[in-house]
Amino acid sequence: MADWVWSNVVVALLLMGTGGVVFYARRSRMWTETFSDLWRRRRFAVLVIGFYVLVALLDSVAWVGGMDQGEDTVARYEAQSILDRLFAGSQERSYSAPFADVEFYGGAPLTHPGAHILGTDLIGRDVLYLSLKGARVALLIGGLTSLLAIPLALLFGISAGYFGGRIDDVVFFVMSTLASMPGLLLLIALIMVLGKSTVAVCFALAITGWVGFCRVVRGETFKLRELEYVSAARALGVSEFGIIVRHILPNLMHLVIITFVLMFSGLVLSEAILSWLGIGVDGSWGQMIDQARNELSRDPIVWWNIVSAGLALFGLILAVNFVGDALRDTLDPRTLRETE
């Protein structure tokens, strides 16, 4: 099946999943309280993240055809997202500064004078359009990689910490081995092997990224399994699996949330580094920054590419960190403030 069909399916599943989670969470006082608290304290950050998610969704729902492509015969058979359609035909044949009325560097005259709020890039693409396109890539990298790395770290960390002995030795050996390789080189090697697709990059980032969190989980589990409520649960006849699910895992949730947030922003940033090395994901902000790097030496200076991409990146990461911080304050009962 074509990529765009999958993308639509994923969007549908995500929306359904979110609906389900909201439906379930509405009945749980803890989550409604958490969210109302978050909303009260970090409204702006939540809205910013919401905006990024919306843009990413607009960029994910795609279908073929339905547009007048003019002479362009290739685009006729390519799927285009809602976002693509909104910015259709905004291609220029020259550089232009934000809100420019005239062309830059002697290209052809502008087709849409003054319409490029953030200007255009070297090959005449609208910078606003590119910056918005980057949101989907960033969320995909941050989200997918965390979704791969965190369960991996939890699985290995909890089994090592809880069961100890042989299992712990094996897990620790794997962790030490991974940690002893230079991260960037390992990343590059993995991407060379796996290919340069978005999923492959996520995979590579996950494989190099789970070790740190795994170590934290292992240590925390060591601590938790000695606590009296775990002995009490055992004395009540709870199975090992039950203890892990009901007593260990919930007490790691605040770590999961903090890690998810830090990892998310860290991953979006490391993708930028990968792009700088030329092995990033197509259409990411990192790639935009990489391409705009050389433009900084032009005269007059071309600043709008790098600033747009940088601000888009900065905005997302700042908002995510704010929200993560607030979530930690609310969800960790050890820092629980009296809300009632």
Binding site: L227, E228, A232, A235, G237, V238, S239, R246, P333, L336
Partner: protein, 329 residues
């Protein structure tokens, strides 16, 4: 009356020289149904390890080396892991010393009690909640409805211990093992918890193995007492026997050093010396290094159990020789 729990020659070892250190060394006792047995002794004498051995929850690297534990008509030590899990909480429940850390801090207490119920019984969520509510009022938690939704950190130590008791009672166990249930609480709360345990025991007719070093609690709650020293039970008997007619020098020392019996203005009598650590346990009678009535055989042979009648038993060379000579005369 048949014994609900019968423990014979229970030995638990931790890694050490030779076969390992016998932290619990050949312990024998039994608990009848509806009876409260107090297991008394100084810190480190193996009380808690005995209790954990009964539940087969001995912390690693400890292991049960030998002995038999019979609960009802089942042999606990030879049960499969799954069968054991059904016994825990269902037939034998345990409450711990530290109510502060015995509840999961991120789960509402009501939910924790409900889970304990649903673990052993196939009941619906709402039925379990109703049962938890009943249990909460039964253990004297004020405003139980609201307390069900509280997090552990919102409750006081006494309330937490009540929640622990409610949880332990949730499946109507035949035997409740209370490991120093009052030690971490302040005195007024201790009295309340002791009264609560006594009332619950009477109402439900369950057996309690009470582990404590607080003789006041023992006097208030127990039917029979077992005194433990350095991994062995040195004297067993009814409460009256132990408190009124103690025979073992260690028991007598313990009772003498009870602050409640102190004469004002006089120095509180104490047992000389400290409990020897398991690596330096003496040969023969383990109390011989601190005993004021020690004589030659004490340092050589392990004392035999002397039956003093009506379940009063004592492991002491002094008692053995005096009883024998008494018989002879």
């Amino acid at each position: 009356m048949t014994a609900l729990l019968e423990v014979k020659g229970l030995t638990a070892r931790f890694p050490g020289p030779g076969e390992g250190l016998p932290i619990v060394d050949g312990v024998d006792f039994h608990i009848d149904s509806g009876e409260v047995l107090a297991l008394v002794g100084e810190s480190g004498c193996g009380k808690s390890m005995t209790a954990l051995s009964l539940m087969r929850l001995l912390p690693k690297p400890g292991r049960i080396a030998s002995g038999r534990v019979r609960l009802g008509d089942e042999e606990v030590l030879s049960m499969s892991v799954n069968a054991m899990r059904r016994v825990r909480g269902h037939r034998m429940a345990m409450i711990f010393q530290e109510p502060m850390t015995s509840l999961n801090p991120v789960v509402r207490v009501g939910k924790q009690v409900m889970e304990a119920i649903r673990l052993h019984e196939d009941v619906s969520r709402s039925a379990a909640r109703l049962r938890s509510l009943e249990l909460f009022s039964e253990v004297g938690i004020p405003d139980p409805e609201a307390r069900l939704d509280a997090y552990p950190h919102q409750l006081s130590g006494g309330l937490k211990q009540r929640v622990m008791i409610a949880m332990a009672l949730s499946t109507r166990p035949e035997l409740l093992i209370a490991d120093e249930p009052t030690t971490a609480l302040d005195v007024t709360i201790q009295a309340q918890i002791v009264r609560l345990l006594r009332d619950l025991q009477r109402d439900r007719g369950m057996s309690i193995l009470l582990i404590t070093h607080d003789l006041g609690v023992v006097n208030e709650l127990s039917d029979r007492v077992a005194v433990m020293y350095a991994g062995r039970i040195v004297e067993t008997g009814s409460r009256q026997d132990i408190f009124k007619r103690p025979r073992h020098p260690y028991t007598r020392g313990l009772l003498r050093s009870n602050p409640a019996l102190a004469v004002p203005g006089e120095r509180l009598p104490e047992i000389q010396g400290v409990v020897p650590s398991p690596v330096e346990w003496p040969q023969g009678c383990r109390f011989s290094t601190r005993c004021s009535e020690v004589f030659e055989p004490c340092r050589i042979d392990v004392p035999q159990t002397t039956n003093l009648g009506e379940g009063h038993r004592c492991d002491c060379h002094g008692v053995t020789s005096s009883t024998n000579s008494g018989d002879g005369a």
